[in-house]
């Protein structure tokens, strides 16, 4: 049932994009979070940062126009907007760690009610790879997560305590899911928006820790994209 009425990834990305202020410096995690760039509201322009040393990049180039020296952290070809800048990796992570980014939007395996994030590895098997994830959860003014509300087999991704290896401790402040928008405050999930078709009880049933209420819960908008 839950799977029939939920936001698509594009719709989650759209919702997250609505909270990005004009002129904000933003890092979008590799993969799904990169979609957020496509849904900046009219009249607002965020400046996107990528770990490998570019500030102010734009869309992907047309196929065949790629310059493989000009890529993002996901190793995808990008283009530059006017006013872009290049810098080396230490300066790039000075921006991250030094608190110069306004927003980082990341994917997640699990988010705990105290803001702990697990998004780099699900167990001890295979080849571990961390990239910039553990840096990005520190320093940005807001660290937000976009994610399906539950795993593919229906288990909660918003949990009382992470069971997967942590990326960062107490770092996430807002989660945009396929069903809801949830803030993390004082060690608790606080529900801000939910799909109107879903009852609070049903939402709570697929959430691994208590969803507190703190004022009215708004309807989560379902944009036509």
């Amino acid at each position: 049932m839950i799977n029939d009425i939920k936001l698509t990834n594009a719709q989650i990305a759209w919702r997250a994009a609505q909270d990005i202020e004009d002129g904000a410096y933003v890092n979008l995690g590799i993969g799904f979070p990169e979609m957020v760039a496509q849904y900046q509201p009219e009249g607002r322009e965020a400046i996107f940062h990528t770990e490998n040393g570019v500030l102010g990049f734009g869309q992907a180039p047309a196929e065949g126009d790629e310059d493989w020296d000009l890529i993002n952290a996901g190793k995808k070809a990008i283009t530059l907007k006017p006013g872009a800048a290049f810098f080396h990796h230490a300066d790039s992570f000075a921006m991250v760690r030094g608190g110069h980014l306004d927003v980082a939007i990341l994917g997640a395996y699990q988010i705990a009610q105290n803001g702990d994030l697990a998004n780099w590895r699900v167990g001890n098997k295979g080849v571990p790879a961390v990239g910039g994830a553990m840096d990005l959860v520190h320093g940005a003014g807001r660290v937000a997560v976009i994610t399906d509300h539950v795993t593919k087999d229906g288990k909660p991704k918003l949990v009382a305590e992470c069971t997967f290896p942590l990326t960062g401790v107490g770092c996430v402040t807002r989660v945009y899911t396929s069903l809801a928008v949830v803030d993390i405050q004082d060690g608790h999930f606080v529900l801000r928006e939910k799909l109107p078709q879903i009852s609070l009880e049903d939402l709570q049933a697929v959430t691994g820790a208590e969803l507190k209420l703190d004022g009215p819960v708004a309807d989560l908008i379902v944009p036509e994209l």
């Binding site: 400046i47 102010g56 530059l80 006017p82 006013g83 000075a94 030094g98 520190h138």
Partner: protein, 235 residues
């Protein structure tokens, strides 16, 4: 995005009593004289000023000190061809001094900008400037733990700037300026010329705009050393 500011007075308008202010430059090279003088016009008191030096003559930081605005200097070399303003007040106990080795000063400011709360350096080990600081041995050698240095404001001097806040510098005028841009809550740059976004080649940007909050054009900036040689005073 447009970070340009119309006047130097507007540029320093937020700098308040008690603020910690990093001021770029090394001696007169890269010193934002017009921003400093605008700050003197505004006149906040009780400032902590971070600069390599502690003013020279009766202009710039020397004039700030003479105007009674500076409660504390953080610097490596409070001497100059005319250090009277600082020297008198220091010997009278009216201004505080935190003396920091020059490389440690630079690294502490960079650390402040880079989110590194502390680091270890061989510099000052075994000297009075290391007194009271944690010492740790790495690979058989002793090092001093130093903390980051941050500020409420940085005022710096660039050569080109654009509305995104990207900056270049002129010759050795670079010195502490790019580091201070990183380490302040609010960074204001005066530049000789504001160009359109893209007017600075992205490979030639020295300070990326993310580190800069305001850019004001001062088309023909004064040079501290030339002013001093001309016997200038401010105001």
């Amino acid at each position: 995005m447009d970070k340009t500011i119309a006047t130097v007075a507007d540029a320093v308008a937020d700098i308040h009593d008690g603020a910690t202010v990093m001021i770029g430059g090394f001696g007169g090279s890269g010193a934002p004289i017009e921003l400093i003088h605008a700050l003197i016009d505004k006149g906040p008191k009780n400032l902590t000023v971070i600069n390599n030096n502690a003013g020279n003559g009766k202009i710039g930081i020397g004039a700030m000190i003479d105007a009674g605005m500076v409660a504390k200097m953080v610097c490596s070399f409070p001497r100059s061809s005319d250090p009277r303003a600082f020297t008198e007040r220091y010997l009278d106990g009216k201004i505080e001094l935190e003396l920091v080795p020059q490389g440690t000063l630079a690294e502490r400011i960079r650390a402040g900008g880079a989110g590194i709360p502390a680091f270890y350096t061989p510099t000052s080990f075994g000297t009075e400037l290391a007194e009271g600081k944690p010492i740790e041995v790495f690979e058989g050698r002793s090092y001093v733990q130093e903390r980051w240095l941050k500020a409420d404001f940085a005022i710096v001097k660039g050569e080109l700037g654009d509305p995104m806040g990207n900056l270049t510098y002129r010759l050795a005028g670079r010195n502490f300026n790019p580091l201070m841009c990183m380490a302040a809550k609010r960074t204001i740059a005066q530049v000789s010329k504001i160009v359109q976004p893209g007017g600075i080649d992205p490979e030639q940007v020295i300070t990326p705009g993310i580190f800069v909050d305001g850019v004001v054009q001062v088309a023909n900036p004064q040079q501290e050393e030339a002013l001093i040689r001309a016997g200038a005073t401010y105001p």
